[in-house]
């Protein structure tokens, strides 16, 4: 019986929805948050000083298999929706994929990085000039979609 069910399942036509599903909808992602210190070195973003840290850096990572990424004509761009401590969307940061083209055995090889980075300016920005302190949130999302592709991350900005 179970073999019959498996056969039926395998023979079932592919749903049009699945067939047309865009690669972005198959991708999940995560985001790592780091603060830069005054020397530009990455540090923990648990507490970010708005008078010292020039930026908070978001590094998104796609779960899609690297081979699949390489085959894509247009690799996905990540967006980071950044929400202030009051839950208002402060910025949408664009993180373009880095594409490196090299030659291997006479063939051009395109390699797309699975990480994408974008930075949120902090010191000297309107965050500092209007004391927008508190617990901030960043949500990663694939460009062209409306739902986040990974869990939100939090960081705290203080004076």
């Amino acid at each position: 019986m179970s073999i019959l069910l498996l056969a039926i399942a395998l023979a079932a036509p592919i749903s049009p929805d699945l067939e047309e599903a865009r690669p972005a909808e198959r991708v999940t992602c995560s985001v790592d948050v780091r603060a830069l210190d005054a020397q530009g070195q990455p540090r923990s973003a648990r507490l970010v000083s708005a008078s010292i840290a020039p930026a908070v850096v978001f590094r998104g990572r796609l779960s899609l298999h690297e081979r699949e990424m390489e085959d894509e004509a247009t690799p996905a761009t990540l967006l980071f929706d950044v929400f202030n401590a009051r839950g208002q969307r402060y910025q949408v940061l664009v993180a373009e994929p880095r594409v490196v083209v090299s030659e291997r055995a006479g063939h051009r090889v395109k390699k797309v990085s699975k990480t994408r980075e974008a930075a949120l300016a902090v010191a000297g920005s309107s965050i500092a000039w209007t004391s927008m302190y508190g617990k901030w949130r960043v949500e990663p999302r694939i460009e062209g979609t409306t739902r986040r592709c990974g869990a939100p991350e939090y960081f705290t900005i203080q004076p």
Binding site: A38, G40, A55, R86, V94, A121, A123, G124, W129, M132
Partner: protein, 308 residues
């Protein structure tokens, strides 16, 4: 601003938090040039040019036409860009330079510019801008030493008045640099976070107004010292704006309000623009119509007739 007859157009120069510098046609809104990652033309810095651009223009009596902007987050460099194309004209950097996140101040009479960095000891730099038809950036001999230290650094901008430069540090310290003697005087640290943006000099006297984390404050420059005048608790105050020639300064707060403060009596008149919890940003003035223009964290722009 109308930058130069040769450019033949009204042109706006803007910086964006993402690190770009852009020129926009002031009448059509069309982008003329952009130094940004989106166009593959970003200034060579991890953080780009977060600082607002300043400018020197022949149309206003300058020796040359140039846009002046510093970069953030290494390598930290001060650039002169061609207002027509956005291309580099000249740059200045040295090993001690820290991120430049504030707008430079341009002294047309002295053909020089001053900018701040966020880390001591190299805090205030002065650069000469070069003779006509030979725009350049070289360390000015006017300041000695150059750069000037005023610990712990500043993410804001200096203002120039009567051969003095004033700026706030990231520890609520006010620094005053006499450009004739090179002497530096400071007002104490009130422990209320960074001075926001810049200090506002009252052109009628020697008073300076500024915001820190939870307060709006006034000090008076007496030459040899800077004395505190008053300090008002206003949480999440924005940068300060004075209506020139009046007793009123304006600040936004974190409760959806624009606050008018009488600098003589310290009487406050709040005007509620949005719900409590909404941050009102730095005000700017349309002097021709007596309007204060402010944005908010909900993305709303308000125009308020002043005084009210």
């Amino acid at each position: 601003m109308r930058v130069a007859p040769t450019l033949g157009a009204w042109r706006l120069f803007v910086g964006t938090d993402g690190g770009g510098v852009h020129a926009v046609d002031g009448k059509s809104g069309q982008l003329i040039w952009s130094r940004s990652a989106a166009f593959g033309t970003a200034l060579p810095s991890n953080g780009g040019a977060q600082a607002a651009p300043a400018g020197l223009f022949k149309n206003f009596g300058g020796n040359n036409d140039m846009i002046l902007v510093g970069t953030n987050n290494g390598p930290d460099t001060f650039y002169a860009l061609d207002p027509d194309t956005g291309n580099d004209i000249a740059s200045y950097s040295d090993a001690g330079m820290a991120p430049i996140t504030g707008m430079a101040v341009v002294d047309y009479a002295g053909n020089r510019a001053f900018f701040l960095t966020s880390n001591s000891p190299a805090v205030l730099y002065g650069v000469d801008l070069g003779p006509p038809l030979a725009a350049n950036l070289t360390l000015s001999t006017l300041l000695s030493p150059n750069p000037v230290n005023c610990s712990p650094g500043s993410a804001g901008s200096a203002v120039l008045r009567n051969n003095r430069l004033y700026f706030g540090s990231s520890s609520t310290r006010i620094c005053s640099v006499d450009l004739l003697t090179g002497s530096v005087s400071t007002a104490g640290n009130t422990g209320d976070g960074a001075v926001k943006g810049f200090v506002w000099p009252d052109r009628r006297n020697n008073n300076l107004y500024f915001s820190s984390n939870t307060r709006v404050q006034a000090v008076r420059d007496l030459g040899a010292s800077i004395n505190p005048l008053w300090s008002l608790p206003i949480p999440n105050a924005s940068m300060v704006l004075q209506k020139p020639g009046s007793d009123y300064i304006y600040v936004g707060n974190g409760n959806g309000q624009l606050i008018q403060i009488d600098v003589v009596t310290q009487f406050q008149t709040p005007l509620t623009l949005e719900a409590s919890g909404v941050q009102i940003g730095a005000p700017s003035l349309d002097g021709g119509y007596d309007l204060v223009i402010v944005g908010s964290s909900t993305g709303t722009l308000h125009a308020v007739r002043v005084p009210y």
